[in-house]
């Protein structure tokens, strides 16, 4: 055994040579020589211990000579100094050989150079990395120096590969030849720059000890937060407490021998164990006393519970201690009932242990959370290693106090603007609204959500950010499909996960999905049908008809599998997203005709009107202008005795709520985004949108005239009526008296001159047109201010109902009258009227008057706006599309008489509106304006800018920018 003890000694001596100056080596040489002789002398007796191929003396000789040669120059310079140093060193001990290694040499100096061996990456069987490395070691021992590899590295985090250090690839090949678990196929050289990375592993910094927060790495509780209760370092196990995820029903089934589905489709949600509940399910609960601690546990099926927590014995390896970072919610859950904020001091200490360097900085406002000085506030003056010098806020204390950083916590006051620097909401900024101990509540700048974070995780900052809105390919508000084929909308992006509002219409279900749990993003254009079989596409505004969110409305953001995600910015939960089935919704402005499209020409006309692309669905472009005319139709209030505005959607034009839209709840109130509030009605602008139900009812009321086509909920129904002017009622209206009655209004119109100029023959002769004519004032008076434009249309309405004609004027001053005018350009009547009497149009002066007063004209409306003289394409089933020119628009169902041929020379046919398509004009075409204030006017399209057309109006020579959708090519007869 003697030799066995000697050999480590040799190694020791060899190491000495590396640091000893030359003259000392002579002495050592002698010593070594003696040793070698000694060894060789006894070698034969121990051959079974020593590799037979060893050429020890040669090897060592070479080293002895080579190594000490290098320091020769130094030694000549100051031999004595070195001698002194060496002696000093060796006077202490012979074991100092590690000194150099431990202290003097910077890691930097050890960086690999080209002369160093290289690292080669070799593929091996998965899970056998360590084994392979150890086997290589054994092989090298067995085979001796013939294998020239230097080392073999197996990394824990790199599966399937090991690294082999050698000078040449051939050496690697030689070494791995015949090895069972190594695949010899490919040997990859590690670039010299990456060599250090291979060997850099972070040592696990935090030991697992009592009260440490950890996360479980495997099983049902994977990713769950747990608190260490006890650690058995010898057995490498720990007892942790977690919030149980136990499906009691399934457990009960199992215990009673009932069928238990094999497949674990889902992980039961984490919730505290309720022993009573378990007993109710006839699950046997034992009460046991832990002999070690004296605590009582409830034992169910071998599982130990205490205070609702599950106490689980796990392997230390299955616990993750790195970056545990318990979120606020998790800690909140863990807190025992009755435990106050101070109760989790221990957990705080774990949090503090996770603090990064430079946590506190000069100027930080801090509060002492431990010790005698607890609750003392102050500012950080200076930070040392573990000690923070603070300047206390209180008088009578020393200028600065040194306090352990573990006893300090950052402190914020309401009103501070802060940024979250770690945790799930990392990156978000907001204003502190309240502080509870070490917890800070802040309102996010962007989402306006309340965020609860630890004071530790925020810093004061004036920055305003939303935090992350994108991870990988997925962004906030994307529709994604998850692992389990469920889908949903991303409503919040956290630092490592998404909050997804699942596509479950019954109740809002928010899931937290990590990046890898998302399968893909849905980008397809998908359509759905609403309750009334209207085709819905993204951006259509819908109203929810039933369910918990009944009554809410907003644009459709996503459609998937018949489920809509609607964005209602007044919905304060789930980032404003509401998930509903498509058939519990109705498209705003959609038909309620329940799919009887073909049977009902009016409906079909309507559906045509809503579906063609020119009807803007986009919420970004709500129908321009209101349906002022409609209001007026219903304006008489029917039997309801309500203001016509009630139910109308209006936009507030002036004042504090300028730009807000809302529905009129009462004549005194509007529901805007801040709840009902009163707005001066004169501040209300045009009706931006009207919900169909309201429309319908109004039309119903307006339709007291049997002949009136307004039975349909279509606003554009006025068109035929106005243009035709052939119905008896209309004729009836064209009595001289009526004309006179109307006249007063026209002179009030600013563009009256145009109007008069344009129609000298038909109107100019009438003396009643003179401005300021007394009778007109009489009617005008009750509607002071801006009311006048509407008044005529209202009157018209009334006039359209013969029975009521007597009371029409009396009704004129009704309070709703002045409500609509705001948005109606005063220009409207006359300008619209003007082109309404072009040459070829079968229009009498009377009908012209009607035209002027037509609600559509008055309103800045959208709709099917066919007018005589425009070029259209007629498309009928079975037929090709043929161009034609509208000659006449019939009043009954909105169908039009169309002269076929692009110049209108062909046969005259009658076509339904849904068979007609307006030919969009091209640049420099003569056009006719079909909608808006200038409806009926002709002009020239002098330019196109996106969806807008630049039009030079013939009569006024004004240049207007109008929506291309409202322009049609004019064909002069």
């Amino acid at each position: 055994m003697n030799i066995c003890e000697c050999i480590p000694h040799v190694a020791l001596l060899r190491n000495l040579f590396e640091i000893l100056p030359f003259f000392l080596t002579i002495f050592l040489l002698k010593l070594l020589a003696g040793l070698l002789i000694f060894m060789f002398w006894y070698l034969p007796a121990y051959t079974d211990f020593i590799d037979p191929g060893a050429d020890i003396p040669d090897e060592d000789d070479r080293r002895l000579h080579r190594r000490p040669l290098l320091p020769r120059e130094d030694e000549q310079e100051d031999v004595e100094e070195i001698e002194r140093r060496i002696q000093e060193r060796y006077a202490r001990s012979l074991n100092v050989e590690y000194d150099e290694e431990a202290t003097d040499v910077e890691q930097q100096a050890l960086l690999p150079s080209v002369r160093d061996p290289k690292l080669w990456m070799v593929k091996c069987a998965i899970g056998r990395e360590r084994e392979v490395a150890v086997c290589l070691m054994q092989k090298c021992i067995d085979r001796g120096p013939e294998l020239q590899i230097r080392s073999a590295v197996a990394l824990d985090h790199l599966k399937n590969f090991i690294y082999i250090e050698a000078d040449k690839e051939a050496h690697v090949k030689e070494a791995i030849k015949g090895m069972r678990n190594i695949f010899t196929g490919k040997i990859m050289l590690v670039p010299i720059k990456e060599m250090t990375d291979v060997l850099s592993v972070e040592s696990k910094a935090i030991d697992i000890s009592r009260d440490t927060w950890v996360r479980l790495k495997i099983g049902t509780y994977k990713g769950d937060l747990a608190k260490v209760v006890d650690v058995d370092n010898v057995r490498q196990r720990a007892t942790v407490k977690v919030i149980p995820r136990i499906d009691l029903q399934a457990l009960s089934n199992k215990l009673e021998g009932r069928e238990v589905p094999k497949k674990k489709a889902f992980t039961p949600p984490a919730r505290f164990m309720n022993i009573d509940e378990a007993r109710e399910l006839h699950i046997r609960v034992e009460r046991r006393r832990d002999p070690a601690t004296g605590d009582y546990f409830e034992k169910i099926e071998g599982m130990m519970f205490k205070d609702g927590f599950l106490y689980k014995n796990v392997s230390l390896k299955s616990l993750s201690t790195q970056n545990v970072q318990p979120t606020f919610d998790e800690l909140e859950k863990f807190r025992q009932p009755g435990e106050t904020g101070d109760g989790d001091m221990s957990s705080l200490s774990t949090l503090f242990a996770n603090r990064k360097k430079g946590h506190f900085m000069k100027g930080d406002r801090v509060i002492v959370v431990k010790g005698d000085l607890r609750n003392l506030k102050g500012w950080v003056e200076k930070v040392e290693e573990d000690t923070v010098h603070i300047k206390p806020n209180e008088k009578g204390l020393p200028k600065t106090l040194a306090i352990s950083d573990k006893d300090l916590c950052k402190y914020f006051e309401p009103g501070n603007h802060v940024k979250v620097v770690s945790g799930a909401t990392e990156g978000a900024t907001g204003m502190v609204v309240s502080v509870e101990g070490h917890v800070v509540n802040l309102v996010s700048d962007t989402t306006k959500e309340l965020i609860r974070v630890f004071a530790d995780n925020v810093v004061e900052s004036s920055e305003v950010t939303s935090g992350v809105t994108k991870i990988g390919d997925y962004e906030l508000h994307d529709l994604v499909v998850l692992d389990d084929n469920s889908f949903g909308v991303i409503i919040r992006v956290e630092s490592e996960a998404f909050q997804v509002l699942k596509g479950v219409p019954e109740r809002p279900d928010v899931a937290l999905a990590r990046l890898r749990e998302i399968k893909y993003k849905v980008d397809k254009k998908i359509f759905a049908k609403d309750r009334y079989k209207n085709t819905l596409s993204v951006k259509d505004v819908v109203k929810i008809l039933d369910g918990p969110c009944k009554g809410k409305q907003g644009p459709v953001e996503h459609i998937y599998k018949g489920v809509l995600f609607i964005y209602d910015r007044h919905h304060l939960e789930h980032a404003g997203f509401i998930c509903v089935k498509s058939d519990s919704c109705m498209m705003v402005g959609g038909s309620r005709a329940n799919g009887e499209r073909n049977g009902n020409s009016l409906t079909s006309k309507f559906s045509h009107l809503r579906t063609p692309p020119r009807v803007p669905h986009s919420p970004m472009r709500p129908p321009r202008g209101g349906y002022g005319g409609h209001n007026n139709f219903g304006g008489r209030g029917g039997g309801r005795g309500h203001d016509a505005l009630i139910g109308a959607t209006v936009k507030i034009r002036l004042g504090h709520y300028k730009g807000c839209k809302g529905r009129v709840k009462d004549v005194k109130a509007i529901d805007g985004n801040l709840g009902p509030f009163a707005v001066d009605r004169s501040h209300i602008s045009d009706n931006v949108n009207v919900t169909p139900s309201r429309e319908t009812s109004r039309y119903g009321m307006g339709s007291e005239t049997p002949m009136h086509p307004s039975r349909t909920p279509l606003h554009p129904y006025m068109t035929p009526m106005r243009d035709s002017g052939v119905t008896p009622y209309h004729d009836g209206m064209r009595t001289p008296m009526r004309d006179r009655a109307w006249n007063p209004y026209t002179p009030m119109s600013p563009p009256r001159d145009n109007w008069e100029d344009g129609n000298p023959g038909s109107w100019g002769t009438s003396p009643q047109y003179q401005p300021g004519s007394p009778p007109s004032r009489a009617y005008e008076a009750p509607t002071p201010g801006s009311g006048w434009t509407n008044t005529p249309s209202n009157n018209y309405n009334e006039a359209g109902t013969p029975r009521d004609s007597g009371s029409a004027y009396a009704n004129a001053p009704s309070p709703y009258l002045p409500s609509t005018p705001g948005g109606q350009p005063p220009m409207t009547p006359s300008s619209a009227y003007l082109p309404g009497t072009p040459g070829g149009q079968p229009m009498t002066p009377g009908s012209g008057g009607l035209d002027m007063m037509s609600p559509v004209v008055g309103a800045d409306s959208e709709g099917p706006w066919f007018l005589p003289g425009i070029l259209v394409n007629v498309r009928r089933p079975g037929d090709d599309t043929t161009p034609g020119v509208i000659r006449e628009v019939l009043p009954v169902d909105g169908s039009s008489k169309i002269a076929l041929g692009s110049s209108g020379n062909g046969d005259v046919v009658t076509a339904l509106p849904n068979e007609i398509e307006v030919v969009p004009p091209r640049k420099l075409d003569k056009i006719k304006i079909m909608g808006g204030a200038h409806r009926g006017a002709t002009g020239k399209l002098i330019g196109i800018d996106g969806t807008d057309g630049i039009v030079k109006v013939d009569d006024t020579l004004d240049v207007k920018i109008l929506d291309m959708v409202s322009l049609a090519k004019l064909v002069q007869a």
Partner: protein, 123 residues
């Protein structure tokens, strides 16, 4: 039994006889062996811990928590060994990093023996 190295006239440390959870690493030199190997033969690089005499010492001086494994065949000429500062130890299997530090008593022993001890760097 101690394996005795041929190549460099240097004793090779024991090679782990298994690759599972029994493996432990010496907290000072990071040598990796099984618990039993440490108990029977101690640590080749740190004989002063005398683990073979006191089995309790094995638990104190070694840890099962380590990351990565490197077999060093030729410590003097291996760059990796030099980088990891195990170039002066016996050939054998080492770990790249241990997560714990020696307890103060054992650190005192190192000091008495004038052997350096570098505690693991905390992240």
């Amino acid at each position: 039994m101690v394996n005795q190295g041929g190549g460099g006239s240097v004793a090779v440390a024991q090679i782990p006889t298994s690759f599972g959870h029994e493996l432990r690493a010496c907290l000072r030199c990071r040598l990796v062996k099984t618990y039993d190997q440490f108990r029977e033969s101690g640590c080749e690089n740190c004989p002063f811990f005398q683990m073979e005499d006191d089995h309790e010492r094995v638990v104190d001086c070694t840890t099962p928590n380590f990351t990565g494994l490197i077999s060093v065949m030729d410590p003097t000429r291996s760059w990796a060994a030099r980088w990891l500062r195990i170039g002066k130890f016996a050939p054998g299997c080492y770990t790249l990093a241990v997560s714990e530090a020696l307890n103060p008593d054992l650190q005192n022993i190192c000091e008495e023996e004038h052997v350096p001890y570098v505690p693991p760097k905390r992240v």
